[in-house]
């Protein structure tokens, strides 16, 4: 459907990709050149490739008359639209479009949002003041490492910064945390890339204090004033009242509520505990206009009045105070932050890079609706149609950067398409903002209201009927269960995201079975048993049940929330004898070969590192297989013996007789070469595995982008050893264990969720948030990075706080949705309940309180659907088009000995024992052979200079030398115009050789051969001339003279002219 903005809500398993591709084809086929002006945006490189190859594959099939179903769908919609005069011939159209795309592939615009943005940014680098021709740095951690280190180095020199840092450390000590703040600074530093920060910055109406130290200091003192005024006022007042009370000898018993909420106890609380909050019972008395004292006292009136004043004051100023307090705790952030921003700027310039995390933020300032035609002009792409996938993960800035394209498309009556599913939005921590899909887009484009259509894709092609039904009901009930709470703001997002219309899916009609089982492990305060291990124990039963029903390990996907959970469940599964594919099992560092290589690198950098030596020995022994004596290995280094080591290491590893030195060549190599050598020496190439390949690749990439020295690589390794992993190789068998985040988009026949119990209000590791307020003085900073604690609900930051909380909850519900919608055939959910409230309680809540579930919920087990044998359901996998072959070994050979290059340094320099000198002889030889006649001296010198043979200081000197030679009485004649000079000409011989004498002078049949020599006279010199003579004779020259010109002292004095006869 063209000519408008289509927003597709595509729930899990609803064939989103096919829809997208179909829409694309519709546009592409309606005009064979349309692909050029159509941009499809995807989120990952993988998705990009997948979509491209899907489009191409469909086109191939269509052009061969295949894919009938799709063809007729396309035909219908193309005809309907009446875009075409004739009935479309899908087959021919497809061939034409296919051909166009294959031969104009650069205009086949399917790309990730990042690469699109980078392209725009590149074309505006100069105008934006960014480094022209920048590279893109993907490793944000590396950048942060660098700039925080620089920041720390300024401590002590930069007084204000030092103060901020000092405050910061104090704060951390107060929190009982470690004082090594480098890592923590990195966390704050991460915020300079966060969209939340930039959003605040852009939204802020007043000018910002960040970056201005004076203003920062002012603001800090203003905020301090709010805090201290509040505290001082109340404290002073309380002190006064206290002395009134005490002077009157009143005690707790004289007050209403006595020591629990009496006025006296309130005063004491203020003074001793710095707790200013009036208790509920005290407020009750005040609210009822009652007397605070039970007994009569002359001071009663004073006390009553003064306490009321405090409470009044408290209520009036509380919001400001809480706000000030929240900011004040982290006031150092403001200072540190602006410094980091500057350092980041320097970093970009110095390294000529853009940090990929930074790109959308920087582009944001450029992208505006008015400027967009100019931008696309400079860019040179004319985008008329646009499609955006996974829209729920789009960030506000990304949307902003794409918006002009969308507007452009709809206002020119072309096509725009947005596809996504709010329920599957789980990347908020990467700035994804599902609100855009929910409502933002429509709001932003309200001018085009009548052109926007919303549609839901609600057929589930992935899961079997019973699972689809379960999820439909489950999430409807879950949402209504949660909605009983009174957080309207949260409910708004949740209920709209899970609105019945978009949630409830139809079954595809082809998959009519499916099975769901939930088991709850109730928490018992008394016994405090570990429900997690109960669940793990039970998982064993699930696995054996699956085995009995014929499921294979790679039919099973285990979904977890965190890395720790993954490790825990993986080790359980491994202990049962299954192969596991998990993040950990794929870690490169998991391989003994890799560990040996790392130890070898360490050993080579420090030959007295015994641990490294032992590590080498140990891993080498494992790799060699067979029995090994562990003690011999570990105790080899005792008393510096190392005999065993020397005994079993490969011979090539050593060179010297004493075997204490590492082979010299190893000392001579840079990182990548070194590793290849080691691979070769230790014969690791004889048994290829993906770990070594990945390790080599890591080293290769590292040396490409960094200083390739071993020390820094080892450091890099240290920080990344738990991140670098191999991809899952084709044809691998094993149970997959994965985090839900990673599993998004995947499916599996069976899914097990062993720990369905994450916290509803936990937001990963990020405990702080950006908040702002338009109340002075807080409006002077665009935003503050404060701890997201619940008292913010009463602060000026309430709006930000509530939003944050609502979105966090939604995230956690979405995770559940993503997890529940992965399986095709079976879903197992274990709910190990915990002391704290978690999503698990909600699940149990649903099972208990809604009849459709509670009926089937007995003994903590809920079951629905039917268990079929695996073989009954398997539809047979699609045949792979491409064959996969396994490569069992690879080549790592030392190549130096067989390589030929022609050295450019050509002995232009000569080195003797103590010196390196320019080989002037060779140089003069070179100059002379460029010379045609004496007139060419200037040109010849100039050209040698331009070509870098001599520098400007030397030109005069060499010029003199040349002139001296060409004007020398004996040879002058050769450099005059009387001859045809052959100085750059070659003689071809019939044997296929080319010969180039230094200088041949020709006049008719007469020829003079001249060869320049710079060394001592040698016999061979004459031989060469004689060979030339023979050639020239064969060429028909009759009168041939031959000369050797010795230019010995290089000072332009010809040493000797020697005629050869």
């Amino acid at each position: 459907m063209l000519n408008k903005l289509n927003i597709f809500q595509a729930s899990a398993g609803s064939g989103k990709t096919r829809t997208l591709v179909k829409e694309y084809l519709e546009i592409a086929l309606s005009n064979p050149g349309n692909y050029k002006s159509t941009l499809a945006i995807t989120f990952t490189n993988k998705a990009t490739e997948e979509m491209k190859s899907r489009v191409v594959d469909y086109l191939i099939a269509l052009s061969k008359g295949g894919e009938q179903q799709l063809a007729s769908e396309l035909k219908d919609s193309l005809t309907q639209k009446g875009k075409l005069v004739e009935l479309p011939d899908i087959q021919n159209l497809s061939s034409e479009v296919l051909k166009n795309i294959l031969h104009d592939y650069s205009n086949f615009h399917i790309s990730t949002i990042d690469s699109f943005c980078i392209k725009v940014l590149r074309s505006f680098a100069k105008e934006l003041g960014l480094p022209v021709g920048f590279n893109v740095e993907l490793d944000t951690d590396k950048v942060l490492e660098d700039i925080t280190a620089k920041l720390l180095d300024r401590i002590g020199t930069d007084e204000e910064l030092t103060k901020y840092i000092d405050d910061y450390i104090l704060y951390r000590l107060d929190e009982g945390r470690t004082w090594n703040i480098a890592d923590d600074l990195k966390e704050i530093g991460r915020e300079i890339f966060s969209e939340d920060y930039w959003k605040k910055k852009l939204d802020s109406k007043t000018s910002d204090v960040y970056g201005d130290r004076n203003k920062t200091a002012e603001l800090i003192s203003e905020i301090g004033k709010i805090k201290f005024t509040f505290e001082n006022y109340i404290k002073t007042k309380a002190g006064e009242i206290k002395s009134v009370i005490e002077s009157d000898n009143l005690t707790h018993d004289d007050f209403v509520n006595k020591s629990r909420g009496g006025a006296y106890s309130y005063m004491l609380k203020i003074l001793n505990k710095n707790d200013y909050e009036p208790s509920v019972s005290l407020r009750n008395v005040i609210g009822k206009d009652g007397d605070l004292l039970k007994t009569k006292s002359p001071k009663s009136a004073i006390i009553n009045k003064a306490v009321r004043e405090i409470v009044d004051f408290y209520d009036k100023n509380l919001a400001g105070y809480i706000t000030a307090n929240a900011v004040f705790k982290t006031i150092y952030n403001i200072g540190i932050f602006s410094d980091l921003l500057k350092l980041l700027d320097d970093y970009r310039k110095e390294n000529h890079v853009m940090i990929s995390a930074d790109i959308n933020n920087l582009l944001r300032s450029l992208m505006s609706d008015d400027l967009s035609p100019f931008i696309y002009e400079k860019l040179g792409s004319r985008i008329r149609n646009i499609m955006i996938d996974e829209f729920q993960d789009t960030s506000g800035f990304q949307w902003n950067n794409l918006k002009p394209l969308v507007i452009n498309a709809i206002s020119e009556r072309n096509s725009a398409l947005i596809v996504g599913d709010v329920k599957q939005s789980i990347y908020r921590w990467r700035s994804g903002d599902m609100r855009l899909l929910l409502e933002g887009v429509e709001r932003d484009l309200s001018a085009f209201k009548e052109l926007i259509s919303k549609e839901t894709l609600n057929t589930n092609f992935r899961s079997h009927k019973n699972i689809v039904d379960f999820n439909n009901k489950f999430f409807l009930n879950l949402v209504s269960n949660i909605s009983n709470e009174d957080e309207t703001y949260f409910n708004h997002y949740l209920s709209e995201s899970y609105e019945e219309k978009s949630l409830v899916q139809k079954n595809s009609g082809k998959k009519n079975h499916g099975y769901v089982k939930i088991k709850v492990f109730p928490y018992n305060k008394e016994s405090d048993i570990d429900t997690n291990s109960e669940s793990e124990e039970y998982t064993k039963d699930i696995l054996s049940e699956l085995k009995n029903d014929g499921y294979k390990p790679n039919d099973i996907l285990v979904l977890v929330r965190t890395g720790a959970e993954s490790i825990s469940i993986s080790s359980l599964i491994t202990s049962l004898g299954y192969d596991v594919i998990s993040e950990k099992s794929l870690l490169v560092n998991n391989s003994p070969s890799v560990r040996m290589l790392i130890y070898l690198l360490k050993y080579i950098s420090d030959n007295r590192n015994h641990l490294a030596k032992t590590g080498v020995l140990y891993n080498y022994s494992i790799l060699s297989g067979g029995e090994h004596n562990l003690r011999m290995i570990f105790e080899d280094g005792l008393n510096k013996r190392g005999e065993h080591f020397n005994g079993i290491m490969p011979e090539e590893f050593f060179k010297d007789a004493d075997k204490h030195r590492i082979k010299s060549i190893l000392n001579d190599l840079v990182l990548y070469d070194l590793i290849e050598h080691l691979v070769s020496i230790f014969k690791l190439d004889k048994k290829a595995d993906p770990y070594i390949i990945k390790f080599l690749d890591t080293a290769y990439r590292y040396s490409k982008d960094n200083d390739a020295d071993v020390t820094s690589f080892l450091e890099y390794w240290e920080t990344n050893r738990n991140k670098l992993s191999i991809g899952i190789p084709e044809n691998t068998d094993g149970i997959r264990v994965m985090t839900i985040h990673k599993a998004k988009g995947l499916q599996s026949r069976v899914v097990i969720i062993p720990y369905a119990n994450w916290e509803l209000d936990a937001n990963g590791n990020r405990t702080s948030m950006w908040a702002s307020s338009d109340k002075p003085p807080f409006n002077k900073a665009s935003g503050f990075f404060v701890k997201a604690s619940s008292d913010l609900a009463e602060s000026y930051f309430v709006q930000d706080y509530i939003t944050e909380r609502a979105l966090t909850r939604l995230d956690n519900v979405n995770l559940l949705y993503v997890a529940f919608t992965r399986p095709a055939e079976r879903l197992y959910i274990n709910v190990p309940e915990k002391r704290i409230k978690s999503i698990g309680n909600r699940i149990a809540g649903v099972l208990n309180s809604f009849p459709e579930f509670s009926e089937k919920f007995t003994d903590n087990v809920f079951e629905t659907g039917d268990k079929k044998k695996a073989s009954e359901l398997s539809g047979g996998k699609e045949e792979e088009k491409i064959t996969v072959t396994e490569q069992k070994d690879f080549v790592s050979e030392l190549w130096y000995k067989k390589t030929v290059i022609k050295p450019a340094y050509k002995k232009l320099k000569i080195a003797d024992a103590h010196n390196v000198k320019i080989n002037r002889g060779v140089l003069i030889h070179d100059l002379l052979s460029r010379l045609k006649t004496a007139k060419d001296v200037d040109g010849c010198i100039n050209s040698a200079h331009v070509n870098g043979l001599i520098n400007s200081g030397e030109t005069e000197e060499y010029k003199k030398i040349l002139i001296k030679i060409v004007t020398d009485a004996e040879v002058k004649d050769w450099y005059e115009d009387n001859w045809t000079v052959m100085n750059e000409s070659e003689i071809l011989t019939a044997e296929g050789k080319t010969v180039r004498p230094d200088r041949v002078l020709i006049k008719d049949k007469e020829a003079v051969i001249i060869d320049y020599k710079t060394g001592k006279e040698r016999k061979e010199d004459e031989e060469q001339l004689k060979e030339y003579e023979i050639l020239l004779k064969q060429m028909g020259y009759i009168d041939i003279k031959k000369y050797l010109l010795y230019i010995g002292d290089y000072n332009g004095k010809i040493f000797k002219v020697k005629e050869i006869r």
Binding site: S106, G176, V670, D673, E893
Partner: protein, 948 residues
């Protein structure tokens, strides 16, 4: 039929009598070599060769200008630019300058009128007046988007400001080059083209052979010469892409054939009819792809012995060169490299960067220059350095680490002790402080000379590794000469930051061009180098989009539609050129192997369009092609964790007794954590790596804190401490902390070089300790009054245990942070700097069990251990024990294990359990094994051995 061969034959036919009359111009020099070889096959006696040029050489000859290097050009441009526009420092300008240079170059190559292209347009009418009709549309497209922007917009203004001035910059730049007889390519060819009509050439015929895309200048030159009947054009074509007008490989050829004649009569049919094997292999990761290539090549050569000399390995991505070389199988005998190697992948470049850091980070103190330890160590471990004095260098590095020196002065210390000679000179030179451009240049060229010498001296004869290093050095040296020349010539001084940035930037983007022996062995080459050549077997790597072809990031400041209007090439043209190369290569080959990377990433895109084209078109057209496409994968081995079990047999037990004669609480804690860890660290003392501590490590931090407190309390030992005393101490901390602190550091061998009074992060440790001490004193007030009995007290005593082999005696010992006394009750106190919390003794049964099995009870265990030690040695029977957990000190103060004093019973119970534990260690029953609980491994140094 081979294009070059046919060319040779044609020319031989035409000029048999005097080949010297003919000149041949090829796109590259290399084709000329092959041409001469073919030609010499046709002659029977020696002859003067025809003149053979690459187009560039030919142009230089025609124009009489010298084409100079980029650095010089960008410098010149910088000068011109600064006359009209604001400039940044030169290093920042450099990449921008390079981009402008490219734009100027292309403007000239396409004979563009700079007055028009750089014209600033204010309203659309102007366009029709000023521009030729055929470009008006495109020009309008661009400018109307600018004109429509009415409001002030800083990005637009920035653009216009630059754009308006570019014409002046261009002209100024051009003139200043011409006045020096210098040029960039475009300038030279434009001047050649503009004068071609009147140029007299000393040849009867000039053949332009094997061209594909022509810029306007080339076209003009060819056309003029053809018209003058001197020029002839020969095209290397194949019917496949000539006839199919969508096939981009023929984009230029089709155009050219409309304008020029092809003297070679007809196009080849090798693509449409020739028999070929095409095999495509995908493999994950670049290295995986390269290794898959090595594997295939090996198999291929095994099956086809001798095929090596007809085989070319094409590397479109030059970064792959080194890994590819390592992947050439042993049945390859000779390897010829003809391509550029990015200088940044060389060891020399790394060295330069290390030196840059070293020199930029040096500090001066008391007139002595000292260098940052990290840079020094990196430098010494660089391959060019490490080998100079292998033993001494390792020793020196160890010394730096052992003594924890953050800044060092090697020239006055380490280097002094070395033997005189070249190696020493090199090290001496490197540690000479240098500051500005001229000095740095001299310094670096001297260094490169010395390194050349060192290679001469140490390198083995015929060692090509050495040859490569020499090339690198030579390359850098010529670059330095260039720089020196420019800097001297322009009389400018660059400060060190600018200079280093410039140098590194410039080297970073430069490549060393290797030329091998073209007619022999296996050819490893870039795609460009294959022009016009023929190989029977072709292995082509990196067949991914973004590399093949290079993709659409077009580095130009000229907006797209203006490029189009003025006929400048865009990325579409680049794609066509690339396609021509690859199809020409395939046309001529019989066996073609294509490799691509299947693992997508930010810099790896999907498989190349050429694979799609071949798979879906070419192989359908040519039925003589046998085509295969496969994915290569490396089998994954399921890794199971190795078991480690050290059985305590006789010899081990004796080793144990030998090496463990005294046991401290922390030793036992280790044993409790993991028996294997105990074996590694205590029994065989497997030393872990040392690093220089910059910020105090947690361990040193603890030490320093302890010592500081001891220092402060020293005068009060044995006396009662009053509130006044605490205040006095606090006052001392306030006023004299630096001294106290220095004193403490000085007393510790491994900390005394740590200069914590310097700036930088080092100062943090000091200020943190100061803060902690203050908080500590605050907390102490709650305990007043007390008197201090001992500080940092070492307690050691012998015990006897029962082992299988009889009684054995050993010592238990520990250092007690402090013992104080108040109201007749002694309290044993431990300061804890790490995460520590005492567990309550409420449930005695589980408490004592956990104490000896659960690392979470470490703090309790150690404290209890001290209680027991004091009980044994000094018969403490009425005491309490607790810890100061410094992190929690403000909230918790002193944490006591229990409020009451320890009962005799408990102490004895502890003693019994302790003995049992020690007996277990020295008994043969329980072997040393890995702990089951992986969490205990988190901070263990032996993780990589255990695979945890």
């Amino acid at each position: 039929m081979d294009f070059i061969k046919r060319t040779a034959e044609l020319i031989y036919e035409n000029h048999k009598d005097n080949l010297k009359d003919a000149a041949v111009v090829f796109p590259s020099r290399r084709a000329g070599l092959y041409f001469k070889k073919e030609l010499s096959g046709l002659i029977s006696a020696p002859v003067w060769s025809p003149s053979v040029f690459s187009i560039n050489d030919f142009v230089v000859k025609l124009s009489g200008l010298e084409i100079t290097d980029n650095l010089t050009l960008v410098f010149e441009l910088y000068e011109s630019y600064s006359k009209y526009l604001e400039t940044e420092s030169f290093d920042e300008f450099y990449p921008w300058g390079e981009m402008l240079l490219k734009d100027f170059d292309v403007i000239d190559k396409y004979l563009v009128n700079s007055d028009l292209i750089f014209k600033r347009i204010k309203n659309e009418k102007e366009i029709e007046l000023a521009f030729p009709i055929e470009v008006v549309e495109d020009v309008k497209k661009f400018w109307s988007s600018v004109i429509k922007l009415q409001e002030e917009n800083k990005y637009k203004d920035n653009f216009l400001n630059i754009w308006e001035n570019l014409n002046s910059v261009y002209k100024h730049f051009k003139n200043s080059l011409l006045s020096k007889n210098l040029a960039y390519e475009g300038l030279a060819i434009r001047s050649a083209a503009e004068n071609i009509y009147k140029t007299v050439l000393p040849y009867k015929k000039i053949y332009f052979a094997g061209f594909n895309s022509l810029n306007k200048c080339e076209k003009l030159i060819f056309q003029t010469l053809v018209e003058k009947k001197i020029g002839e054009t020969l095209w290397d074509t194949d019917k496949y892409f000539v006839d199919d007008d969508k096939q981009e490989a023929g984009f230029f050829i089709r155009k050219n054939l409309k304008v020029f004649e092809n003297k070679l009569v007809e196009s080849g049919t090798e693509l449409t009819k020739g028999a070929k094997n095409i095999s495509v292999t995908g493999s994950s990761l670049n290295t995986g792809m390269i290794k898959a290539f090595g594997f295939e090549l090996k198999k291929f050569l095994e099956k086809n012995p001798g095929a090596e000399k007809n085989t070319a390995v094409i590397l479109p991505d030059e970064n792959a060169l080194i890994p590819v070389l390592y992947s050439l199988p042993d049945n390859v005998d000779d390897i010829n490299i003809t391509m550029g190697l990015p200088f940044r992948t060389t060891p020399l470049f790394t060295l330069i960067k290390i030196i840059r850091k070293l020199q930029s980070g040096k500090i001066i103190e008391e007139k002595r220059y000292r260098y940052y330890h990290d840079d020094v160590i990196r430098l010494l471990l660089h391959p060019y350095m490490k080998f100079l004095f292998p033993e001494q260098i390792f020793g020196f590095i160890r010394e730096i680490k052992d003594t924890n020196q953050t800044y060092i002065e090697p020239s006055k210390t380490f280097i002094k002790s070395l033997e005189d000679g070249l190696s020493k000179d090199i090290l001496k030179l490197i540690f000479k402080p240098v500051f500005e451009s001229a000095d740095i240049i001299d310094y670096l060229s001297e260094l490169s000379d010395l390194l050349t010498l060192r290679l001469e001296e140490y390198g083995e004869k015929g060692d090509n590794h050495k040859l490569f290093q020499m090339e690198y050095l030579y390359f850098m040296n010529s670059n330095l000469n260039r720089l020196k020349d420019i800097i001297d010539g322009k009389k400018i001084v660059l400060n060190q930051t600018t200079f280093w940035n410039l140098l590194v930037q410039q080297l970073n983007s430069s490549r060393i061009v290797f030329t091998g022996e073209p007619l022999k062995g296996l050819q490893v080459m870039g795609l460009l180098e294959t022009r016009n050549l023929r190989f029977e077997n072709v292995f082509m790597l990196s067949m991914n989009e973004g590399v093949m072809p290079a993709g659409s990031t077009f580095n130009s400041y000229i907006p797209y539609n203006l490029r189009k209007a003025f006929g400048l090439p865009t990325y579409e043209e680049n794609d066509s050129i690339n396609a021509y190369y690859i199809y020409s290569l395939i046309a001529k080959a019989k066996n073609i192997f294509l490799f691509y990377n299947t693992e997508l990433g930010n810099d790896v895109k999907e498989k190349s369009r050429y694979i799609l084209q071949i798979e879906n078109e070419l192989r359908n057209i040519n039925t003589n092609i046998s085509y295969s496409h496969k994915i290569n994968s490396y089998p994954i081995a399921q890794l199971s964790e190795e078991k480690i079990e050290i059985i305590k047999d006789k010899s081990l037990l004796s080793l144990l007794k030998e090496n463990v004669k005294r046991i401290s609480p922390s030793d036992l804690s280790k044993y409790i954590n993991c028996t294997l860890q105990f074996y590694f660290s205590k029994v065989i003392k497997l030393e872990t790596e040392k690093k220089v501590e910059e910020i105090l490590s947690p361990a040193s931090f603890g030490t320093v804190f302890h010592e500081t407190v001891r220092e402060l309390y020293k005068p009060y030992i044995g006396k009662g401490v009053t509130e006044k005393d605490i205040e006095d101490i606090a006052a001392r901390v306030e006023t004299d902390f630096d001294n106290i602190f220095m004193k403490v550091l000085d007393s510790k061998e491994d900390l005394k070089y740590l200069n914590l009074s310097e700036k930088g992060r080092n100062t943090l440790s000091k200020s943190v300790i100061k803060k902690l001490v203050k908080r500590f004193l605050e907390a102490e007030k709650n305990r007043l009054p007390f008197s201090i009995l001992a500080l940092e007290k070492w307690v050691e005593t012998g015990i006897e245990i029962e082992t299988g082999g009889g009684r054995h005696s050993l010592n238990i010992a520990g250092k007690i942070d402090r013992i104080d006394e108040s109201e007749n009750i002694k309290t044993i106190i431990d300061y804890k700097t790490g995460d520590s919390k005492l567990k309550s003794l409420r449930n005695r049964d589980t408490f004592f069990e956990n104490l000896f099995t659960d690392p979470g009870y470490k703090a309790n265990f150690q404290t209890f251990f001290y209680v027991y030690l004091m009980y044994l040695t000094e018969h403490y029977d009425k005491c309490k024990a607790g810890i100061y957990a410094l992190k929690e000190i403000s909230n918790e103060g002193l944490q006591l294990m229990q409020d009451d004093i320890f009962t005799q019973e408990d102490i004895k119970l502890f003693g019994e359990e302790l003995t049992k534990k020690i007996e277990e260690i020295f008994g043969s029953e329980i072997p040393f094994t890995k702990t089951v609980d992986v969490k205990r491994c988190e901070y263990c140094d032996y993780k990589d051995i255990c695979g945890r």
